[in-house]
């Protein structure tokens, strides 16, 4: 019983909130362009469904491509940096500057570089910039996270640099890499959506474009519908990544 209640609790809350929202809109006669009723949002969802799913896939695929690009560059750079403390000192500040600069601020520049006809490239590039740091940071930390006593053991048995890297540092880094990729994937979606907004309605076919387009026409219910899809997509992605991280750790630890 209590387990059922625990499982249902969030849905019950959502249902209550939606019911209150619906009732308030009707009783107070709120104009639909200001705040549509949940039932209107559901109607919009049904009407726009296929288009929204296409847009969601568009945004998601951009984010995933960006994640792959960021992953490859961040890990390669972390490997180089991890082998040289001097290089790490040199690269760190640049990486931090890249991380703390809001993606919105560099988006217009990247759009120009990618060419205004190739908004897709700019969106991938911007999402990759956002996704880069957690992977890079996790990889650099992970490469230094090996048990110091295991390091001593490798000293004792006269391990070479390559042996130390492949048999100790890389495997020790795995949990940090999993965590980094999990965070980065979430950020890549945010980066892709932000980049879509900056690219504007002409440049992309993603979810942000749906929101912009509906907003321009004051079709607020359709804006909400796109937001709902975005939220659900984020939640599903998050759950998938959590599961992926858990599975990866289980494989690493053997249980």
């Amino acid at each position: 019983m209590s387990r059922l209640l625990r499982a249902l609790a969030p849905f019950v809350l959502i249902a209550l909130l939606l019911a209150g929202w619906e009732a308030a809109c009707r009783v107070l006669a709120v104009p639909a362009y200001f705040l549509p009723t949940p039932s209107a949002v559901i109607q919009a969802l049904a009407a726009d469904g296929p288009g929204l799913l296409r847009s969601a896939w568009n945004t998601l695929s951009m984010a995933l491509i960006a994640l792959l690009v960021a992953s490859a560059i961040a890990q390669a750079l972390a490997l180089v940096v991890g082998l040289s403390p001097i290089l790490e000192r040199a690269v760190r500040p640049l990486a931090v500057v890249l991380q703390v600069t809001p993606v919105v601020a560099i988006a217009p520049l990247v759009l120009i570089w990618a060419g205004l006809d190739h908004a897709g490239r700019a969106i991938v590039a911007l999402a990759a910039v956002v996704a880069f740091f957690p992977i890079f940071s996790g990889a650099v930390t992970g490469l230094k996270a090996a048990d110091p006593d295991l390091e001593r053991l490798f000293d004792l048995y006269g391990a070479g640099r390559l042996q130390r890297l492949t048999r100790l540092r890389l495997p020790s880094a795995l949990p940090y890499l999993l965590e980094g990729h999990k965070v980065a994937a979430g950020l890549a979606v945010i980066g892709a959506v932000v980049a879509e907004f900056v690219a504007g309605s002409g440049g992309s076919q993603g979810l942000a474009w749906r929101i912009l387009e509906a907003g321009n026409r004051l079709q607020t219910a359709r804006m909400f519908a796109a937001l709902v899809v975005l939220g659900v997509m984020g939640a599903v992605l998050h759950a998938a990544l959590e599961a992926g991280e858990r599975a990866g750790l289980r494989w690493w630890r053997g249980r």
């Binding site: 048990d147 001593r152 053991l153 490798f154 048995y157 006269g158 048999r167 020790s172 630890r253 053997g254």
Partner: protein, 245 residues
């Protein structure tokens, strides 16, 4: 014959002296217990004996070559991503021994520490005592001449500690490596060692030395003999002196 010796060694860190001047000779086949208060430099002395660290002053003499010195740390220090077999085989693989041969010798070492059947288990699936045994198997797999045990049983419960102490003595009897082991536990030191070296509080010097009586490995009921009690009292007295010094 001396396997390793520290002669008037000192170790200085930026925050001050950690050890010495301290001297210690280890004879072949001897079991030496190193007892002293926390922070007296016992672990530093072990790292010097292992050749993992250089002294600031004095000399370290070591006859064993690479792979002939083995260390067991306070924690099992196993690679979580490797099976018990792969963990135990690690020293051999690092030395370039072929994988199949290394695995076979690792299995044999695991069997010697009573872990036959657990070869495929990962460290996370083992109890603390079993993980420590894997660590011991990894140390034994190269057939070391000098075995350094740095508080190896500190994290284990009393029953497991005693069982492992007897196992280490049995393993010693089979191959007679020189063993140096660090412990806080006076009774454990007297039980396992042929010689107990007591260190002063840090920076550690020699507070004194007590020869433990009786044959190794210990007979049943050794802990209740008057000899054992007398030796424990002698070591405790030295330890108290060393703390006050």
């Amino acid at each position: 014959m001396t396997v390793a010796a520290l002669r008037e060694v000192t170790v200085d860190y930026p925050r001050g002296r950690a050890l010495g001047p301290f001297s210690l000779g280890i004879g072949a086949g001897e079991i030496v217990a190193l007892v002293g208060p926390s922070g007296c430099g016992k672990s530093t002395a072990m790292r010097l004996l292992a050749g993992l660290e250089a002294p600031s002053g004095g000399t370290v003499e070591r006859t064993p070559g690479r792979g002939e010195t083995a260390v067991v740390f306070q924690a099992p220090t196993l690679a979580p991503w490797l099976s018990a077999r792969a963990n135990a085989a690690l020293p051999l693989e690092l030395a370039g021994v072929r994988r199949a041969e290394a695995a076979a010798r690792a299995d044999e070492a695991l069997a010697r520490v009573g872990l036959a059947g657990a070869e495929a288990a990962r460290p996370a699936q083992l109890s603390g005592g079993m993980a420590m045994r894997v660590s011991l198997a990894r140390a034994l797999v190269t057939g070391p001449k000098l075995l350094l045990l740095d508080e190896p049983f500190a994290a284990l419960d009393e029953i497991t500690r005693r069982a492992l102490a007897d196992d280490v003595l049995a393993l010693w009897a089979a191959a007679k490596p020189a063993i140096v082991f660090v412990t806080h536990n006076v009774e454990e030191a007297v039980y396992m060692a042929s010689r107990v070296v007591v260190m002063t509080k840090g920076p550690g010097r020699t507070a004194g030395e007590v020869a433990a009586t009786g044959a190794l490995p210990r007979p049943e009921g050794f802990r209740t003999t008057p000899d054992f009690r007398t030796t424990v009292e002698a070591v405790s007295a030295l330890l108290a002196q060393g703390m006050a010094a």
